[in-house]
Every structure is written in structure tokens, then in C-alpha cells.
């Protein structure tokens, strides 16, 4: 600020004391209560905003530090990605093959998406395009409530209800398998995907719908030919975020997969997920041991995968994929 600027308000206030009697005679240099409140709020908001970034970096650095030693010493890249033998506790020859775990996570997530995508997109289209008034609001609240069910509850449903159902219906010895976990995970991911997909549909301007309906398009034609193409980026992002959720989910998967190391060749095979492995084993390893660091390597891998999925989702929303 130049001196002239600063003197100006003071001039005005001294010239017109009658019109603003409450104003101090020279407030040009006085920083009042409001000024400090403003600065304080700015600082708090800044700290809040920056802390999210700091925490994420902190987590990344911590996970990397714990796992990176293993990456350089005992790590065998080929073994990690191709061997199904995850035997960290073997006393003679511990092996760290994550192939079965990766395939376990991938198969469960894949099946979950087959379950969740039609359900969630269907629900989003119904809520966003067909339902009206009260039923629409009720459905939205219900879907959001579903999203708030803790994952351990879903795991419990998988363990107790789905387990016996699958045994009875398909006549298989064990009901804790890819099918069970896939359905549970699909039902878990569907509400979040529905909410995001519905937001994407809502972002399509009503003028598009009106223009198409005025041409004699039926509701379904409007949805199929105008709304869905216009919102495809957002819908893709919803699906990708669901995939990310599936990859990262731990408790429900731990409870519903059967948690046995296995490369699945049918949906009735029990598997073990990356996340569940970390959750189940980390508490029983000696800090700093090879096993401990191997688990953190799994963590790095998971971190990279979810980061890539979320990044892709973000790029898709911005429509970078289009051009």
C-alpha cells in the first residue's frame, strides 16, 4: 500500500464526521477486532487445508520407510508378483509371493463390480431421472444410510448369513469364498457409487432433458441418448471409485473370503486379500523383521494401486480422456 492510499479513508472520515459518528477519527492504521478475526480464520482454514496433504505425505513416507528396506534386501520382484507362496513364517525358507493375494483381491473386486455396477447405475438413473418428489428424497436418504453401515457389519452378514446360504444353494463345502466376498463388497460399494453417479446425472443441465423431451423423446430415450452420454465421465468416475473402495476394503473381505491363500479358479474358492493379510498379520510380527517389512511392501503396492485408480477417476471427471 502506498502512503496516499492509506491516508484516503482517513481523509473521508475526518471530512464527514456527522455521517459516520461511530467511526474513529483515524482508522486508517488501526487494526480492529474484525481484522484479527479475519486473519485468524484464514490461518485456521489454511492449516486445515494443508494438513490433509501433510498427512497423506506423512503416511506415504512412513509406509515407504518401513517397507523400503525389504524392497532393497530380501525382495525378489519376480517372486513377489508371480509366486503364490506367501509363507513369511516358515522357519527354514520364508517366501513372499503375493500373486495369490493380488489375484484374491482382484477376483473379489471384479465380482463386486459385476454386482455393484448394474445395481448402482440402475439406482442412480431411477433416483435421478424417474423418481419424483417424496420417493426420490426417501430413496436418496436410504442409499446414504446404506453407505454408512460399518464394514464389520457387512463382514458379519457375509460370515453368518451369506455363508450358510451359499452352502445350501450351491451345495459347496465352504461358503466363505470369492462369491460371498464379491457380493458383500458389491453391496457395500453400491451405495457410494450410486451417490456419486447420481451427482453426475444431476450435473447434466435440465435444459438438455427439456430439449429432448420437447422433441417427443420418451423418458428412457432422454436418459439413453442424452443424459447418459453427457454424464459418462462422471459415471466412469463413480465406477472407478467403487473399484478403489473394493481394493482397499479390509474387514468385510477378511471375514467373507475364507482367508486362505489360493489362486482361485472358480468363484467357490476361498481366497485371501492383500488388505486382509496386512490386517491379520501385522499385529503378530516383530517390528522391523523381514515379515513386518514385507507387509509394508504390500502396503506400498496397495497405496500405489488405489492412488492410480483415484487419479484415473479424477482425470476422467475432468474429461482429459476425451481430448
Amino acid at each position: 500500500m502506498t502512503p496516499t492510499d492509506m491516508s484516503r479513508p482517513a481523509d473521508i472520515s475526518t471530512r464527514q464526521p456527522d455521517s459516520a459518528p461511530h467511526r474513529a477519527r483515524d482508522d486508517a492504521d488501526r487494526r480492529g477486532f474484525d481484522w484479527y478475526v479475519d486473519k485468524a480464520v484464514q490461518l485456521i482454514v489454511f492449516v486445515g487445508g494443508i494438513s490433509a496433504i501433510i498427512f497423506i505425505f506423512g503416511i506415504f513416507i512412513f509406509v515407504t520407510r518401513e517397507g523400503v528396506g525389504f524392497l532393497f534386501e530380501g525382495f525378489d520382484l519376480v517372486e513377489f508378483f508371480t509366486s503364490p507362496r506367501w509363507m513369511p513364517t516358515s522357519s527354514s525358507n520364508p517366501t513372499y509371493g503375493a500373486a495369490a493375494l493380488i489375484l484374491g483381491t482382484a477376483s473379489v473386486t471384479g465380482l463386486a463390480m459385476i454386482v455393484a455396477v448394474p445395481f448402482s447405475l440402475g439406482a442412480a438413473v431411477y433416483i435421478g431421472e424417474f423418481a419424483t418428489g417424496r420417493s426420490r428424497e426417501t430413496l436418496k436418504v436410504l442409499v446414504e444410510l446404506l453407505a454408512a453401515i460399518p464394514s464389520v457389519v457387512w463382514g458379519f452378514i457375509g460370515l453368518s448369513i451369506m455363508n450358510s446360504l451359499i452352502v445350501r444353494i450351491f451345495d459347496v463345502p465352504v461358503g466363505l469364498n470369492v462369491l460371498n466376498a464379491g457380493i458383500i463388497l458389491g453391496l457395500m460399494a453400491a451405495p457410494i457409487m450410486t451417490t456419486i453417479a447420481e451427482d453426475a446425472l444431476r450435473a447434466v443441465p435440465d435444459t438438455y432433458r427439456e430439449a429432448a423431451e420437447a422433441m417427443g423423446a420418451t423418458r428412457w430415450q432422454v436418459v439413453w441418448r442424452v443424459v447418459l452420454p453427457a454424464s459418462k465421465n462422471g459415471l466412469m468416475a463413480a465406477v472407478l471409485l467403487g473399484v478403489g473402495r473394493g481394493f482397499g476394503e479390509t474387514m468385510a473381505v477378511l471375514m467373507a473370503t475364507g482367508h486362505s491363500i489360493n489362486i482361485p479358479d472358480s468363484i467357490f474358492d476361498s481366497v485371501r486379500a492383500l488388505t486382509a493379510t496386512i490386517a491379520a498379520e501385522l499385529g503378530e510380527t516383530a517390528v522391523g523383521s523381514e515379515h513386518y517389512r514385507a507387509l509394508f511392501t504390500l502396503g506400498i503396492f496397495l497405496f500405489i494401486i488405489t492412488f492410480l485408480i483415484n487419479l484415473t477417476a479424477d482425470l476422467v471427471v475432468r474429461g482429459t480422456g476425451d481430448r
Partner: protein, 269 residues
Amino acid sequence: MTAIDTGQHQRSADEGLAGDVKIDVRNLSIGYAGKSALRNVSLEIREHEIFGIIGPANSGKTSFLRALNRMDEFTESMTVDGAIRFNGRDVREWRNAYALRRRIGVVFPLPVGLPMSIYDNVALAPRLSGIRKKQQLDDIVERCLSRAALWDEVRDRLGSLGSLLSGGQQQRLTIARALSQDPELLLLDEFSIAVDPVTTMRIEDVLKELRREITIVLVTNLVQQARRLASRTAFFLMGECVEVNDTEAMFTGTVKDPRTREYVEGRFG
């Protein structure tokens, strides 16, 4: 001045075209959640005429248009009473409202370029009605874009996004799209609101041509636009149809209601 003269000349030359009653409105009242927007309007629109509707904001012009092709059904709170006969049959009796809307094209005040290619914008309505053959679609697209005076500007880039065109081009695209459904009746709601004067004049020329084939209802807040285009004009004021008259009579002072004269002379509104 010359433009108006040509308009008059053309209008008298075309006078023979206007024929049977296309739209017959009797005691039409429209409300939104109990609030009245239009009260007891009765008028008729004849085949092959450009029927103008003028009036200040909030006088019920747009509500009137929306009732004509049952667009009121999109707005839950909107209620419509009275009879609207299209080709002699009450529009509420059409069991297939989509078929009704296909015969009545609409152009909204702000251009809506759907987020698809120019070609697909115009081919949308034909495709909706089941036309699949490429050759046939190509013909329709070219014909409609030509009739909307847009073909020459976009013929080399039919594949680019319709929403990337300029405002005036998008409005002509909207008109081409409305024509692609082969309507008998075209409703235009203040189409020139987002369009520059030169493009407005081009579209007006297009409308004069179209009049030979279809009936046009033109809602406008530009009094002179109604004078240039419409053979008969209705004056709406605060939900009331003050008068329906031959446009020339209305503008040369032979009004039925003094409020009309004040409005067309620009004393209020």
C-alpha cells in the same frame, strides 16, 4: 423501414395461405401451485400463419406455449384448465403425448446445443422415431440445416460438438433440430434473446420461408419483431389475453383495447 415494407408485401401475398384452424384454445387457464399465470384465454391459430404473442415479462406467454404441446407435464406444480384443440382434437386426449410433441417443434429462448456432434443433434429426432438408414439421415440433416440457414457454415464440420458453436449458430442448430422432427407447428419462445441482430434477421427470413409449409407461433418481447413476422398477434398482459388482432391493425392504431396501443408504442413494458 424497407424491411418492414417487404414484410408487409410478402404478408399480403401470402394471405391466401392461411387457412383452417390449427390450434383452437378455449378458456385456457394455467396456474403454478395455486398461483395463476394465465386466465381464461381463448384464441385460434390458423394453418400457415405466423401467430405472434407479445407482452411484458410474466404475462404468461411461455406458460401458454408449454401448454400447447403438454410440456406442463414436466413441471409438477403446473396445472392447466380449459381446452386446447390441435387439428380439432383436444391435446389431453392424445394418449401418446410423445407423438403430439413430435408434431410440435419447440425452440427455447436460450439455445441448447446438446453435447453431441452437430450431425447427431439434428439426427436425434429422426433416430428417435426409428430412422436408421445412413442415406436417409444424411438427407434429413442436410435439408434441416439448410432450412435453418446453417448448412453452409457447418457442412465441413458436422462431426464437431454442437455445444461448441457460437450462440447464434446454436440457436439455428436448435431450429434445425426442431425441424428435423418434421413438425406441423413450430413454437418459438423469444428465440432472439441470445442472438445478434444479423443472425436474428437471417432466422426471421428462414421463418418467413417456413411459413409456406408449417404454422408458427412466435412469442417475442420485441414488438417490432412481431410486426415484421406475424400476420396476427395476441397481446398478453399479466396473465390475461388483452386482445388478438391483425398485426398491422394493432400497429397502426386500430386497437381494441387502449392498453395494447400503450404497449406497442412503448409507453410501458
